[in-house]
Amino acid sequence: MTDPVLAPQARELAAPGPVAAATAARQREVVDALGGVLPAHALLWQPEDTVPYECDGLTAYRQRPLVVALPETEAQVAAVLAACHRLQVPVVARGAGTGLSGGAMPHALGVTLSLARFNRILKLDPLARTATVQCGVRNLAISEAAAPHGLYYAPDPSSQIACTIGGNVAENSGGVHCLKYGLTLHNVLRVRGFDAEGQAVEFGSEALDAPGLDLLAVMVGSEGMLAVATEITVRLVPRPRLARCIMASFDDIRKAGDAVAAVIAAGIIPAGLEMMDKPMTAAVEDFVHAGYDLAAEAILLCESDGTPEEVAEEIDRMLGVLAGAGATRMEVSKDEAQRLKFWSGRKNAFPASGRISPDYMCMDSTIPRKRLADILLAIQQMEKTYGLRCCNVFHAGDGNLHPLILFDANDPAELERCERFGADILETSVALGGTVTGEHGVGVEKLSSMCVQFSPAERAAMLALKHAFDPAGMLNPGKVIPTLQRCAEYGKMHVRKGLLPFPGLERF
């Protein structure tokens, strides 16, 4: 807990002493400065007002911010940023607070910049198939607004009812359809925002490319560390005329993993390809009563969408491949109601886990598809090692795992075992050729695991990129890139990838 971002500031604020006095003085200074650029109702600093902002969707880590600013106009955002830059106050941008890695966790001596009031759809152009929206517009609200035109916004993270497009840009959010339709990155054309000094800046354009380096590609997924996005132009796609889903059971996890590879190898890109293991299936069936096969070791949901002709052709091919891979039971959705029922369990995996355990921690690593069975079997072994249960849901089509480790946060020993269990999953994923986070982001949660995935020189290069956008390091400091000291304390070896090993080359 040596990072400033995780400092136990809440306690310091409560306790009398020189630190608390200094913090209070700093708070006064920041409130005074921001009071000059924001109306009174847009500025919160009393503890009872800032407590709701102390964490995002990763509730295990909490920190009250010094001040919460709720600007209503771009001019106010610019002014807040400029004032904070002048005072050298860290700024943490925040959308709906649904992030799962602590990316929006406040800074103890920083301003949380809530963009909740930027909730207007500015322009929806059905001919261009684009929507220009403010950053606080909810993901699903874009698709709802586009629906009368037969269009929708494709990336659909499970939190899409609540999460905002600004947060999606920060995290490069995925969803269950991204194998076919891409991630946030592939569906965003343009981001307008403000840099750390409060200067307006625009990445991408309404054309398909922009001159110079493709900075939009790094802005998306940068977890609020490069600039504050206020306005986003997204690509809309025609809603497919039909979608049908196959639910297939397997009596062996390895067979289910091989079936996933077989579908892809057959040249099929399913609209969705998801997997649940037996414990997860039991938990969700108890919650949604969708008629899942409780005897199956693994269940695959395999979806086809497109024109009716296309879907009929593809479903036939999928059934053939799944049967060949040893599916013990297969059912094809007959209508939209049944299709949604098939999905209801998968979409409710998180709340269903919440019903069977006081707490759960959701991991998010990605592995090459062919290693699905290997990681599952490794996780089964870890359940014994750490004495905790784990349910597994996967975006199997793109190898993105969401193991849900069940634990009781009131038991410090269990929380500690859970954290080690989670780190073990992440590091095993890296060793299998994968990555520590597929779609939830690094935030504060996976800082240590970044030490395993990237070398000191690579982390330094990422930090240099941050400083190219934000030389003073004011935007969301302490997230994503671990310090050298943290990695040294974590003490685990960096797992090499890519071109190495090469003789004669320095190791960093």
Partner: protein, 367 residues
Amino acid sequence: MADAALDALVDQVRDAATRQAALEIRGGGTKAFYGGAAVGEALDLRPLAGISCYEPSELVVTARAGTPLAELEATLAAQGQWLPFEPPRFADAAGRPAGTVGGMVACGLAGPGRASAGSVRDYVLGASLLDGRGQLLSFGGQVMKNVAGYDVARLLAGSLGALGVICEVSLKVLPQPVAGATLRFELDQARALQQLQRWGGQPLPITASAWWDGMLVLRLAGAAAAVQAACGALGGERIDDTLAGSFWQGLRDQRDEFFVGAARAVEGGATLWRLSVPQTAPPLPLSGEQLVEWGGAQRWLCTSTPAAQLRDAAAAVGGHATLFRGHDKTPGVFAPLSPALERVHRRLKDAYDPARVFNRGRLYPWM
């Protein structure tokens, strides 16, 4: 052997950095025309070649920068897969399609499939970069979803070597479509653009379009049933598959009639511009031959109109103009950046290539 190739590159870069000497990163030399004029000693990437890893069921291929693009495409085709962004395959001075994987990523150019399938950047999953200090850095990975750290690998697509040498790259690949058809419609530019927008909003398997000289050509691809149904719904004149195939290949590799004519005009002093604009931009009132691709989003213009007028016209509709081929590059190849973005570019260059070893002036004169 390949390890020796990498070691040699590292040595050459470190040596150049010590001397503050300029290096021109070079693959097959097929895109030397693109960007600012090359300066410095050649850093030849061709010895660093070979497909490091390819597993069709993972939809991922990893190849070293010097791997001939033709070799990569043949390897993918043998498994029924391809690069859906259809990178152009230019010829070298001897007329051979000598382009490399590294050059393809560094230039970031895509062909007819761009509007429907995405850009080079959209398919980059990971890359190894040799920076200006001679450090080998690896970003991204070989999996579809990866948000660990900043997406530096994707930033390299289209970077023209400004940040360093792309040594190895992992790309997402896709199965080739099962069926295809090409339709032709006689339409003027304004009506062609309107029609493309109308069709674009419908769930039709349109994967490419090209308008030139009163003729709109449309490519459909996907499941056989879907292509069949769309042909019925769209009308137009169906073009023989062989003829259509060579048309799209020619367009992709810029060997077709429009580009041959443009090359001749460029010899005569004209300039070939690439205007990247919103798809809904109206026909641009500019003199010269125009070829419209990407559903209206890419407009090729061969003209002698002054650069400033073209840049203004593109900017007025929300786009930008690139001086793609021409002898006089004094107006700058790429549209100027806003001060805020230029600052970030300069700082990135300082961070990744402090001695300004790589591809000086290729992207912007000041980079």
